[in-house]
Symmetry: C2
Subunit: 372 residues, 2 copies
DNA sequence: GTGAAAGCGCTAACAG
DNA sequence: CTGTTAGCGCTTTCAC
């Protein structure tokens, strides 16, 4: 059975002719003094026997499990895998493991997931793209640190990591401005979404800062989907004189917009330039390839894990200064990927990775702390 | 700390005025007889106090953790998330949890992952898209059940779940044949890959079965990538008379092929029909949208979990008939998604989901067994 | 129908 | 420098 026939510490100790305590001290690199000989003997036996510590037993004594919980609405949501990979990569550096559960947008399942994770004695929980926060109640009661990544609800809240929509939008608009465009329209996301609002506001603010007044009719609202983008674009095509560039609030709508432009007998980017938001995979294989600013999923996950770890450490040390401190919302700005849909020279940027993570991973990992 | 201030079974027992043993029996629905009164009192206290069993302690006694390990090469590989989601959904039905670790194609990391998971006392391990099998050695020694899903190496091996390339290819070719095509070419994957070989063989066999002789020059080899697809297509365009339809071994190459066809001044599907393999997301938003047969990632994961569970149960019961039985390779056939690139009437099929999982999920879940 | 007690594998006092 | 021992929270004989 599971741990049944596996080698116990007692067996190693016996084989090495030392006590349980000594074996434990050696195998844990305890600072307790040990003679070089004894140490070698224990190490030798442990190796020879293929000793593998039983983490359950250890956790039981130490009250540390080196695990955290990850509650995602759905692993199959487009940004969830890179967010989780970011978390995992940070966790790896501190030798932690993440226990992942899908809540499928069901508050009851989310509550069940929390209970489950607490039963597994996780040391903290990260919510990925959670749609609600009723859950935190249980966490506060259980005294567990938690973080939200890319939460989809409401306004700014503490202990969350989100995309910097304002800054990212500015990146796009400035690029368009730099290309000489002056008549820049916007296909916005549904204004019930905070991210859609932020992008619209930043679009307006950035143009204003560039001395350009947004004309009526320059903003059309879509629904995040292909069809919505096409519909909004047809609307924009009526404006006279027509805009020469469009900032589209996500990649899906950008594809629809391009189709609408082509259906009207015009060319992208020749007649109208298109730039969007998200940096989804299909934007890279599309023709023309999308110029887009990334939603930095990987980095957000990585950062959330880092912050959670700080909280866990605060708990561990019981140092008043750090203990259970709440973080203000952290915003992370995506990166601009210059491809074909704006007509700019792609040589402006040095690389074209779909997954921002892979390019930044090494740098970030380098920053990861050693286990205490 | 973690389990520090949480409510223990002892506390519940005390509050209910019963012994530890009684409380345990009630809370575990043990078949040991308990008076209705006592049962109610224990349940009541447990509820009121918010009792949450400490799974670590329980596992320690019972040698069951209700966890399995999942070792994936990279969570960001395209098929990994749906495979894992399939696993998770099965696990959910049997109340198990999956511990996920990335091995990043590094055998050393994979070995480390195995050790780590064994230390966590997982009851089995599923390898997702693993590139090697040196690792199984350790598992055999540790007497742990394991399964491979969508393994990328070598020929057929036991205990693995893979796509049914032969059958899926037949689906595509038959569709093309049904549309009246007789000159059907193939853009193959690199022939170092088993899946590429299978698809090529099945392409040839299915045409032969339809009474069509594959002409020399009808098969061009690509490299799984966009550019390779375009290059192979340019080659195919030289054939005289040209093929009227192409089966492309994956979606990426199909996009390249379509671009090459358009660059030659021809139209898809009007002049040449394109059908491919994988059913990646971008194929659905592309114009023309790809007709493609899916790689049934979700179902493969689900099935692998199901088989692993059978093995675990075999271990548990120690019933000689089932104990540690090895399974022959299981093949799962994808589904044909009829869209625009072949010119067929999409009404031929009833739905168009990108994620096969979502359509099949309910049916599959329905099949999931109750916990023993 | 209920309870007392042993013990899973390990770590951390405490004693020498 | 090494060893003995208590006990983490739970399940499960065994006795009543």
């Amino acid at each position: 059975m599971s741990t049944g026939l596996s080698i116990t510490l007692a067996a190693v100790a016996r084989a090495a002719g030392v006590s349980l305590a000594t074996a434990s001290r050696v195998l844990n690199n305890s600072d307790h003094p040990i003679s070089t000989k004894t140490r070698a003997r224990v190490l030798q036996s442990a190796n020879a026997m293929g000793y593998r510590p039983n983490l359950l037993a250890r956790s039981m004594r130490t009250d540390r499990t080196y695990t955290i919980g990850i509650i995602a609405d759905d692993l199959l949501s487009p940004f969830t895998p890179p967010i989780i990979r970011g978390i995992q990569d940070y966790l790896k550096a501190i030798d932690y493991l993440g226990l992942i559960i899908n809540s499928d947008w069901d508050p009851a399942l989310e509550q069940a997931a929390i209970n489950r994770l607490l039963s597994h004695a996780v040391e903290g929980i990260i919510f990925v793209e959670s749609g609600h926060l009723a859950a935190t109640q249980a966490l506060v009661e259980a005294q567990k640190p938690y973080m939200f990544v890319h939460r989809l609800f409401g306004a700014s809240i503490q202990n969350s990591v989100v995309p910097d929509d304002v800054q990212a939008t500015r990146l796009v608009i400035d690029h368009l401005l730099g290309l000489g465009h002056r008549r820049i329209a916007h296909i916005a996301g549904p204004q019930g979404w905070h991210s859609a609002q932020r992008r619209l506001e930043s679009y307006q603010a950035t143009l204003a800062a560039g001395g350009i007044a947004v004309e009526p009719g320059w903003v059309a609202e879509g629904n995040w989907e292909y069809d919505g983008g096409a519909g909004a674009m047809r609307q924009l095509l009526q404006v006279n004189p027509p805009p020469t560039a469009i900032f589209v609030a996500n990649d899906y709508m950008a594809l629809g917009a391009i189709a609408a432009i082509q259906a009207a007998g015009l060319q992208v980017p020749h007649d109208i330039a298109i730039a969007s938001y998200d940096n989804r995979e299909f934007g890279r294989v599309h023709h023309p390839a999308l110029t887009t600013v990334s939603l930095p999923a990987y980095e957000m996950g990585f950062r959330a894990a880092e912050l959670l770890w700080q909280k866990i450490q605060g708990d561990l040390t019981d140092h008043p200064a750090t203990h259970r401190a709440d973080f203000d919302e952290v915003k992370i700005c995506g990166q601009l990927y210059i491809r074909e849909s704006c007509g700019a020279d792609p040589a402006q940027q040095t690389h074209d990775e779909l997954d921002v993570g892979t390019t930044v991973r090494h740098r970030l990992i380098g920053k990861a702390p050693e286990r205490e």
